[in-house]
């Protein structure tokens, strides 16, 4: 694990806190900052540090475990698993396309132009590749 890895959440943000935690850790897993075998802080430790309820962090870890990223076996340290990339199927692709459509719709409704939206998506992809 690279030094000083951290996550940031906003307690008053529109997204549920457990989703913010899960998506930030997922981002670190995807960009390789967290690697197979790395240990993560326990549920109690992370919830204390963030000042959120124990169940909020447990839910985020459970979600990542169900996606195959983490081993959260009871009584053991939380560890990153060696997760083979699954092959996406057509139904999943359609579901993601629908979510993207909704997201782009929300951005357009908030006044973002198509060029700007394209740039934002491009930046996110480049961040992930880096």
């Amino acid at each position: 694990m690279s030094d000083a890895l951290e996550i940031r959440i906003d307690l008053s943000g529109p997204e549920a806190v457990f989703r913010q935690i899960a998506s930030q850790i997922r981002g670190l897993l995807l960009n390789g900052s967290l690697k197979a075998g790395d240990a993560l802080p326990g549920v109690r430790r992370l919830s204390t540090d963030l000042g959120v309820h124990f169940n909020t962090v447990a839910e985020a870890y459970r979600q990542l475990a169900s996606e195959g990223w983490l081993d959260v076996s009871h009584g053991r340290a939380v560890r990153v698993l060696d997760r083979p990339m699954p092959k996406p199927d057509a139904a999943q692709a359609e579901a993601y396309r629908e979510r993207l459509r909704r997201l782009v719709g929300e951005m357009r409704a908030d006044g973002f132009r198509l060029n700007r939206i394209r740039k934002e998506i491009q930046d996110v992809l480049e961040e992930m590749e880096a």
């Binding site: 951290e6 326990g42 959120v52």
Partner: protein
């Protein structure tokens, strides 16, 4: 001037200094138990609250000193003087807290946390705590093996000249009392050093998170030094009747040296606590603090949080796990009393 005046008047003065300074040195951004932001303390309004608190503490100290000097030899004169000082501090705090609330700021909603797994308790603190228990274990062995050499009349109180003025008949309970008290005191201080490090918040809002770990390390290390000093002090008291000069305070000036060293550790912690940069509050909501003194937040998983009335940590009484610690601490404090009554 009587010896009581020479010894107790400086103690009253030092108490005044502590009561004046301590409540005004919490984590930066907290003032009189209220989250006000780091700049408030230096603002004209903040300085006004501070000046009023100081005036009340020193007026009360002057009144306490006069009451003490009227009858310095009276057994309760000193206690009354300290109570008057405490009343002065309490009134300064209550007024300061009330006025600071007008400048309260809500804690930020952004939170940062490290993904580094649990850190290891500082090695230096661990060595100091292990040394403290080694000193106590050696003393227990010494006292148990050399029980026969203890005098039939054991000194249990010393006067202002360091001479024993109260004695009890020798028994196992009285011979072991200093070590029982010492072991409980060291266990209490050591467990505090450990739990503060492992059970308080490392993360927090971006403004407060900087050096939070340093604050915990400072407290854990300082408490570990205290544990070692206490173990040496109680070992000296316990072995004194055999190794020392019978009716003299065991160790004589060395004992005063221990007290002075303990004071130095506390003052050093006090000075360094506030000098550590970083801080715009403590990430706890003001409404969960009763008068800025007692923290009750069932939503907060932290067991220990930074105190708002001075240096160090207090427990989150709203967390059921904190009561395990409170219960253990109370048991350790009560054990010597129970043991000596048996």
């Amino acid at each position: 001037m009587t010896p009581q005046v020479w010894v107790l008047a400086p103690v009253l003065f030092l108490t005044g200094v502590l009561l004046d300074v301590l409540p005004r040195r919490p984590r930066r951004g907290v003032y009189f138990g209220v989250t006000t932001g780091a700049e408030f303390a230096a603002s004209p309004e903040g300085r006004k609250l501070s000046a009023r608190h100081r005036t009340l503490v020193w007026l009360a100290s002057a009144l306490g000193a006069v009451l003490f000097l009227l009858s310095p030899a009276h057994p309760v004169a000193f206690v009354i003087a300290v109570m008057v000082q405490l009343a002065g501090m309490a009134s300064g705090w209550v007024l300061g807290h009330r006025d600071a609330r007008r400048h309260a700021m809500p804690p930020g909603t952004e939170r940062v946390a490290s993904l580094t797994p649990d850190e290891v308790f500082p090695k230096r603190a661990l060595v100091l705590i292990a040394s403290a228990f080694a000193v106590l274990a050696t003393s227990w062995t010494f006292v148990v093996n050399r029980y026969e050499e203890f005098p039939q009349r054991l000194p249990v109180h010393y006067n202002i000249h360091g001479l024993a003025d109260r004695f009890v008949d020798k028994s196992w309970a009285w011979v072991l009392t200093p070590l029982i008290i010492g072991t409980c005191a060291v266990a209490l201080v050591s467990s505090n050093a450990y739990w503060v490090f492992v059970s308080s918040r490392r993360g927090g809002s971006p403004e407060t998170v900087e050096n939070r770990r340093e604050h915990q390390r400072l407290v854990s290390n300082s408490l570990s030094v205290l544990a070692l000093l206490l173990s040496l002090m109680f070992a000296l008291i316990a072995t004194g009747p055999v190794l020392g000069k019978g009716t003299h305070l065991p160790g004589g000036w060395l004992m005063l040296g221990f007290v002075a060293a303990i004071l130095v550790v506390v003052i050093r912690m006090l000075v360094k606590w506030n000098d550590l940069p970083g801080g715009s509050g403590d990430d706890t909501p003001d409404e969960c603090w009763k008068w800025g003194l007692v923290y009750w937040n069932p939503q907060d998983p932290a067991i220990f949080v930074e105190k708002r009335d001075g240096v160090g940590y207090t427990v989150n009484f709203g967390n059921s796990k904190s009561w395990i610690y409170v219960g253990l601490a109370a048991a350790m404090a009560a054990l010597p009393i129970v043991m000596t009554k048996l």
